[in-house]
């Protein structure tokens, strides 16, 4: 299986919203095309062959105008060709399966779809300008001569200005590529931190940006992220801030978050900060939480977040 880029893989999330793990599909694929399913043939009761017309070759189609994609209709596959729709296809070689089944080479080449969520998005009429295709092209070009600095800048721009979903993909891709992170300049990092701190609508994107900035161990990051606790009430963000605090400051993360705790006035700010403290899972966090008001539901939630036996015991006693 061919690797588009020399990255290992990985990321926090395995995809959830439509945006998801497209980048992983693009990286893992042998062939990336925009295609339209035009017919299907049952090989037997377990295997179906979809003929897919190649509308646009992002990479790897080698001049083929059509190709065949395997599907197993009786299996719980999450992605399978959709009839008559123009979609981005991230495909891996399946010639061995074709040989095993005795399929003729003239009906090939044979592929199967990667399984990464979001790796088969719909594509608009203007194929080259479709945002998903442009993202795929950006990643493909990065392998074929585009200077890393240009790729990094393009990803940064997409991270700041791209459409929902894809902008998070751009951030995740940067997270997974420290070599590209190194190409971003001070101003770009400043914009990324500002967005990580200021974003309030797209929490998934906000968390991804925060994690990207944490990879760089930027000065003052925890303080910048803590400002949004309370403005953003999604507990996932508080958990992310807690984890980042632990990664960057270890036991000292609690004191940093506690400093802010002393100046916030709104109950939701306080609750989010306490949750973040609990999410650091540090001994200092436990010590702090055990000192606080036993009847405060926010303290109890933070103790539950801490997960240590002592914290859970304390939370249970505070019912």
């Amino acid at each position: 299986m061919r690797q588009l880029l020399p990255i290992g893989s990985s990321l926090l999330l395995l995809g959830l919203l439509p945006a998801q793990d497209l980048r992983r599909g693009l990286v893992d694929a042998d062939v990336v095309i925009v295609g339209r399913q035009v017919s299907k043939t049952a090989h037997d009761e377990d295997v179906v062959l979809h003929r897919v017309q190649v509308l646009h070759d992002v990479r790897g189609a080698a001049g083929n105008k059509a190709l065949t994609v395997f599907d197993w209709p009786n299996l719980s596959l999450h992605l399978r060709p959709v009839p008559r729709q123009s979609r981005l296809y991230c495909l891996v070689d399946a010639s061995a399966i074709a040989t095993r089944l005795g399929l003729p080479a003239t009906d090939g080449p044979y592929y199967k779809m990667v399984g990464w969520p979001g790796s088969n998005p719909l594509v608009g009429a203007e194929i080259p300008n479709d945002p998903n295709v442009r993202f795929a092209r950006l990643l493909a070009d990065s392998e074929s001569g585009t200077p890393p600095g240009d790729t990094a800048s393009a990803l940064c721009t997409m991270a700041l200005q791209g459409q929902a979903g894809l902008r998070t993909e751009a951030v995740h891709f940067l997270v997974e590529r420290p070599d590209l992170q190194a190409k971003l300049d001070h101003l770009q990092w400043s914009k990324l931190v500002t967005r990580a701190s200021g974003e309030v609508e797209d929490v998934v994107h906000k968390i991804a940006l925060a994690e990207l900035c944490a990879e760089q161990r930027l000065e003052g990051l925890l303080d910048a992220l803590a400002v949004a606790l309370g403005q953003v009430t999604d507990p996932e963000y508080a958990r992310a801030v807690g984890r980042i605090g632990k990664l960057l400051h270890g036991e000292a993360a609690t004191a940093k978050l506690e400093e802010r705790l002393r100046i916030v006035g709104q109950p939701q700010d306080r609750a989010a900060l306490l949750l973040a403290i609990g999410a650091t899972n540090t001994a200092s966090a436990l010590e702090t939480l055990l000192r606080l008001d036993a009847k405060d539901p926010a303290v109890k939630a933070a103790l539950n977040e801490h997960r240590s036996p002592l914290a859970k015991e304390a939370a249970a006693q505070r019912k």
């Binding site: 290992g8 999330l13 399966i97």
Partner: protein, 601 residues
């Protein structure tokens, strides 16, 4: 009154579909023809009554509110007087001169006249044989019913917020934009009512009626009869009640409308709230866990697959878990636990390996039991007798169990699990195969996908922070290699205050939880989740318009879960979402697993 047979006249029909109403009316007219008849539809009765006045003592001009068991109409020009009612003792409404008014479809307001004399909270009332004022929608005059104590209105009617079956959310029960109609068996399901009031609810006076004749241990109950005494009350308080339809009660096949009214302690009743469903023939072919041969669906969890090994390599910002394509006489599952540092080659003490595996598997079984709670499904680590004989599936009743592998890598990148989709669970399935369809497709749970993804960047991910204390490739200390030699004690729970104990507990619990959610998802496919289409055709699988992010055989219902949690049968799961304690089957998926609803015909 719970558990006792109701009086013959205790009834409460809900609004009937026009064709039912028409046929019932026709039947009534043909059979009755006059004053004496046996109605096939229950007559209206008073279910609660409340006095409303300026003082505690009724005076002329004050109001008596009567709440009826069904929608009623008033005879034109008729007054509601002492002649229409039976009041206890010497009580009287006085000389009523004002025509009654209909405050709501089932509520009649009577203005009391001069000479009125009754005692609120003491005097009882019921419709009398002389009633010529209050009729139901079929034109039947009400009469009889149990004596109802006239309460003192607190001024606020109770309100029913929701009626549903099996606690299924509105988005999935046929009342939401996705449409559809729930298909239910003749019994076994629960009816859930949510309501509110400014005071307490008299739960013993809640009315539950049906638009069809329902068979009970006391014989057939006509449409409109209060069925609550025949139901099993699971809970009932001031905000909600849940009743189960026991095996002794049977709804007929076809459409049914259920109707509920709640009454507060001041004697005020709510407007009726209804819920429509379809009772279907719950044949063995459609029943996922039919018991004629197998008492339950058993799933054998197979950890033995050994087709590969794994190595790690350093990448920028993390570690890549690379696949080595040969068996190594150790299961692929255990290979990955070694990668994560949960197992080690020569642990100290040597019992660590067994302790880790035992705790992980027990956590897994507990999590699966929780996810499949009240479903007739059991998970086992011991393979039951018998063999699939090389078949991917065998008829459900010919064999005692299904099985699934918990293993290493998938056939395609990015896949956490693959299983045979088995609508209505008509077969036992072998999800341990490594060459499905002779096309090299592996079935099962693929933990390599999450381990490889999780050990890469970012370093602040939940996965990394959970497992980096143990994964040698991430600088951790493997379980069983701690310098103090106390990991065995930690695994036994003898050092609860020790920070490494908490880390070990969290790692084993979270990995088991993640595995359980993915296993629950794939086993869900192999017992019939999630058929495409609206109820009763399916369970709303692939309805991307109403449930964005859904796909073929999957449904994503993010709005029905708190932030950070998700439906088990979503197309995609993340580590954080899976380990969230609120992640579960959505209520419709769960109702299917609990055999409270089913699809197909």
């Amino acid at each position: 009154m719970i558990g006792t047979a109701p009086s013959r006249h205790q009834r409460f029909p809900g609004p009937l579909p026009p064709r039912w109403a028409g046929s019932l009316l026709g039947l009534c007219l043909a059979a009755c023809g006059g004053s004496s008849h046996t109605p096939s539809d229950a007559l209206p009765t008073i279910v609660t009554a409340a006095f409303s006045g300026a003082s505690a003592t009724p005076s002329p001009g004050d109001t008596l509110l009567l709440f009826f068991s069904e929608q009623v109409a008033l005879s034109p020009g008729a007054l509601v007087t002492n002649a229409d009612l039976v009041l206890s003792g010497s009580a009287t409404l006085g000389n009523v001169t004002v025509p009654p008014s209909l405050l709501s479809p089932n509520t009649v307001s009577v203005t009391l006249g001069s000479g009125v004399d009754f005692v609120p909270d003491s005097t009882t009332v019921t419709l009398g044989p002389g009633n010529d004022a209050v009729r139901d929608t079929l034109g039947q005059l009400g009469t009889g019913g149990p004596p109802i104590t006239i309460g003192t209105s607190d001024g606020v009617l109770p309100t029913i917020a929701n009626v549903t079956i099996a606690n299924i959310d509105d988005a999935l029960n046929g009342t939401g934009p996705a449409g559809g109609t729930l298909q239910i068996p003749s019994n076994g399901w629960t009816l859930d009512v949510a309501y509110s009031d400014n005071g307490a609810i008299a739960t013993g006076q809640t009315q539950v009626t049906a638009s069809v004749t329902v068979n009970t241990t006391s014989g057939p109950q006509a449409p409109g009869t209060n069925l609550r005494p025949f139901l099993t009350e699971l809970s009932a308080n001031n905000t909600a009640a849940t009743y189960r339809v026991p095996a002794s009660v049977s709804f007929p096949l076809g459409p049914v409308t259920l109707s509920c009214v709640v009454v507060d302690v001041s004697g005020l009743g709510s407007a009726a709230s209804t819920f429509a469903a379809t009772v279907g023939a719950f044949t063995d072919q459609l029943r996922p866990f039919e018991t004629s041969v197998n008492p339950q669906q058993v799933w054998f969890l197979d950890f033995a697959r050994d087709v590969e090994a794994f190595t790690t390599s350093s990448i920028s910002g993390g570690v890549s878990v690379d696949i080595v394509g040969f068996a190594n006489t150790r299961s692929d599952f255990e290979d990955l636990l070694h990668v994560l540092g949960l197992l080690t080659e020569t642990p100290n003490p040597s019992t660590c390996t067994n302790l880790v595996l035992t705790r992980f598997k027990q956590n897994l079984l507990d999590d699966l039991a929780n996810l499949y709670s009240e479903a007739n499904v059991a998970f086992t680590l011991t393979q039951p007798g018998g063999s699939f004989g090389g078949n991917p599936s065998v008829p459900y009743n010919s064999f005692g169990y299904s099985q699934i592998s918990i293993a290493g890598s998938a056939s395609s990148p990015g896949v956490l699990g693959v299983a045979i989709f088995d609508p209505s669970n008509t077969t036992q399935n072998d999800d341990t195969r490594t060459d499905f369809g002779a096309s090299q497709i592996r079935l099962g749970i693929f933990l390599h996908t999450i381990v490889d993804a999780g050990m890469g960047p970012p370093a602040s991910s939940a996965f990394r922070l959970t497992f980096s204390p143990f994964a040698e490739s991430l600088g951790g200390v493997e379980i069983g290699t701690a310098a103090d030699g106390l990991d065995g004690e930690r695994l036994l729970g003898n050092l609860p205050a020790d920070p490494r104990s908490a880390q070990i507990d969290a790692a084993l619990a979270d990995l088991a939880r993640f595995t359980a959610v993915v296993t629950a998802h794939e086993c869900g496919h192999s017992v019939g989740l999630v058929q495409n289409g609206a109820m009763p055709v399916g369970l709303y699988g692939n309805d991307v318009a109403n449930f964005p992010g859904s796909s073929d055989g999957h449904i994503r219902t993010a709005a029905l879960f708190p932030p950070g949690a998700i439906n088990v049968m979503s197309p995609a799961l993340s580590y954080s979402l899976a380990i969230n304690p609120a992640t579960a089957f959505n209520k419709l998926n769960l109702a299917y697993l609990r055999e409270q609803v089913f699809y197909g015909n």
